[in-house]
């Protein structure tokens, strides 16, 4: 998978690049509008991450250019502006998602994977992790061909964990993924624990190994080892 990151903040760009390289993605970086347009015109990407505030141009123009050239490329706007107008304009231009800074890299990762899945396979691709098979189109989850009935939150949690497999996930990032702005309401993260516990139990009941490891003081890690 090939990504293009258009972002003027070097430190942030490096973090994002490192993160996606670990996922075995090729993540190219354009620091300004000019080099972004250059890259868009030469290469084809699976997904492009655009910061709409660039020193030498408007990221939305890059989105327009991209839509003209490669309409099937996934686009995620990352912006410091949480303004409704920008959000609506970005989505109207055909971007797939809009993420406000600051964000968790794990959240960005989950969204990039969702966009690529939707774009490349019309969402029909199965997601596999160990013994778990998820069919995103039908929200169908199975272990060893046995169906597992999950609540909406448990399903979202599972997809998030698989998207960020082999990584340490903080409790805040899980909370924000599941509840968005309502995550503020969590007076403690007992909440996530309840969902994690239920999900783990449902999976293990069907003979799935315990993939979920709790990391003391931080959060969780979903991995096969």
């Amino acid at each position: 998978m090939k990504l293009l990151l258009i972002e003027d903040e070097k430190a942030l760009a490096t973090s994002i690049q490192n993160y996606f390289q670990r996922e075995n993605f090729i993540c190219e970086w354009a620091q300004d509008y000019e080099s972004a347009i250059e890259k868009i015109n030469i290469y084809k990407y699976d997904c492009v991450l655009v910061d709409i505030m660039l020193p030498d141009g408007d990221g939305l123009d890059a989105v327009r250019e991209l839509k003209r050239k490669f309409p099937e490329t996934g686009i995620i706007i990352i912006s410091a502006k949480n303004s409704l107008d920008d959000r609506i304009e970005g989505l109207n231009l055909g971007s797939d998602d809009y993420l406000t800074k600051p964000f968790h890299l794990s959240e960005l990762n989950a969204r990039v994977q969702a966009v690529i899945r939707r774009r490349n396979f019309q969402g029909n691709q199965q997601i596999r992790f160990g013994k778990i098979i998820v069919e995103p189109q039908e929200h169908f989850v199975s272990v060893d061909t046995q169906e597992i009935i999950l609540t909406r939150k448990e399903y979202d949690l599972l997809i998030y964990l698989i998207a960020n497999k082999n990584r340490v996930l903080t409790k805040e990032s899980i909370a924000e993924h599941l509840w968005g702005d309502d995550a503020d309401l969590m007076d403690n993260f007992d909440f996530i624990y309840t969902h994690i516990k239920n999900l783990r139990k449902k999976l293990m009941d069907k003979g799935c190994p315990d993939y979920l490891r709790s990391i003391y003081g931080v959060g969780y890690k979903f991995s096969e080892q």
Binding site: A11, Y19, T100, F103, D182
Partner: protein
């Protein structure tokens, strides 16, 4: 009270005072003139009487044709002559009328006489009537002409003023317009218009600057925060970190997250206060917003085993849809956060009122203080303390009324419009 009416009131009071003083003065001076005239006539009569009395032997008495009444009384000794006023019965008209009398002593045929010449002061009697009538007439005419003049003035002269006032009323800062006016003949109104033009242009610039600052602050703070968070997340993946390092890193991450949310919330508050969310013209139906929010919050409600009762009719205030969502969200989350285990929430929506009641612990603070920023009843660290401040600001900006009541165990937040 209209300025013109106030001016009219002062004008009337002043002119009344002047008129009555003038009338008094007029009365006094005319009376003085009349008296002087009467005295003069009396003294002339005196001269005639004296002359006739001196020639009494040679002249018949009937020559005393003075037109006034004359009285002669024999006295032993003469006294001093004087003038006095008296009222006497006028038989013809059967009423007392004022007379002026000159009394003097004269010797005739070896006998002293006290002579009294009386003169009726007819003019004086009419004077009062004339003065009263004139004053009444002037007052009436003046009143009518002042009223007519004022209504004309308010239509003609004050027209530019009302025009300016109308423009100011309709002025909306978000539209970044500077009010301009045509030149006026009236100096004051021209000055007023110029001041308004200067003021609105300054305000517009200041507003623009503030807005830019807000947006810039958002960008400038969010980006470093994004860097911090991304670096922390990268560090978490480092297998070589010890447990205590992870715990420390986790605290840093939590604080940075909190800072991000705080920044967002404060920016939102500023944007609302800057009235960047303009209400449309139609009321927003709050029912779907409340229902979808309740679905989103299902987990939290279930976890705390809260029971929810709703009684919703499809109404709502005129408000920007994004603000309606924040309003509902913050009211509901507040009711959940400050509830007790297995508590209750009752949501009632009527034509002009939305009320959210929740069971809760007794308050330590004055309820109104809970609307202040960063005011927290509990020390739950996840709370930003901005929830109700946001609700309050939204209500203030959109002209809704927000009230916090405590009814035994019930905490009631009511928004009315």
């Amino acid at each position: 009270m209209k300025l013109l009416a106030q001016i009219l009131r002062y004008q009337l009071v002043t002119s009344m005072v002047v008129l009555f003083l003038g009338a008094g003065l007029f009365y006094v001076s005319v009376r003085y003139l009349i008296d002087r005239e009467a005295n003069k006539e009396l003294f002339q009569s005196q001269v005639k009487v004296r002359w006739q009395l001196k020639h009494l032997e040679t002249l018949p008495v009937y020559i005393l044709q003075l037109g006034d009444s004359l009285q002669l009384e024999p006295v032993r000794y003469p006294g001093r002559s004087f003038i006095r006023e008296t009222s006497m019965l006028n038989l013809a008209e059967n009423e007392f009328q004022p007379y002026r009398q000159l009394v003097f002593y004269e010797r005739a045929l070896g006998q002293w006489y006290r002579v009294t010449i009386s003169k009726m002061l007819l003019q004086r009697q009419h004077l009062m009537e004339a003065v009263v009538m004139t004053v009444t007439f002037i007052v009436t005419v003046m009143l009518i002409s002042l009223l007519v003049l004022n209504s004309w003035l308010s239509k003609r002269l004050w027209k530019p003023f009302y025009k300016t006032l109308g423009k100011l009323d309709a002025y909306q800062i978000q539209q970044h317009e500077t009010l301009t006016f045509e030149p006026q003949k009236t100096l004051e109104f021209d000055q007023l218009n110029q001041s308004v033009t200067h003021l609105t242009s300054r305000v517009t610039t200041a507003y623009q600057n503030l807005k830019e600052f807000t947006e810039n602050a958002s960008h400038e703070i969010q980006t470093p925060l994004a860097v911090i968070l991304s670096k922390i997340e990268g560090l978490f993946q480092d297998e070589s970190l010890t447990e205590s390092q992870l715990v420390a890193l986790s605290s840093v991450s939590e604080a940075a997250n909190r800072l991000g949310r705080l920044n967002q919330a404060l920016l939102l508050l500023t944007k609302i206060e800057n009235r960047q969310f303009l209400a449309g013209t139609d009321p927003i139906n709050l029912v779907p917003i409340i229902n979808s929010k309740l679905r989103d919050l299902e987990d939290l409600i279930d976890q705390r085993e809260l029971s929810i009762q709703t009684d919703l009719q499809p109404f709502g205030p005129v408000i920007h849809p994004a603000l309606a969502e924040i309003l509902v969200n913050n009211l509901l989350t507040n009711a959940i956060r400050h509830n007790v285990e297995k508590g209750k929430i009752i949501i009632i929506l009527r034509e002009r009122i939305l009320s959210v009641r929740n069971t809760g612990k007794p308050l330590n603070a004055n309820p109104e203080q809970l609307f202040e920023r960063f005011r927290k009843e509990s020390t739950l660290s996840a709370s930003l303390g901005l929830g109700l401040a946001l609700v309050k600001t939204i209500c203030e900006v959109n002209g809704q009324n927000l009230k916090y009541d405590i009814d035994n165990e019930w905490h009631v937040l009511t928004v009315s419009w």
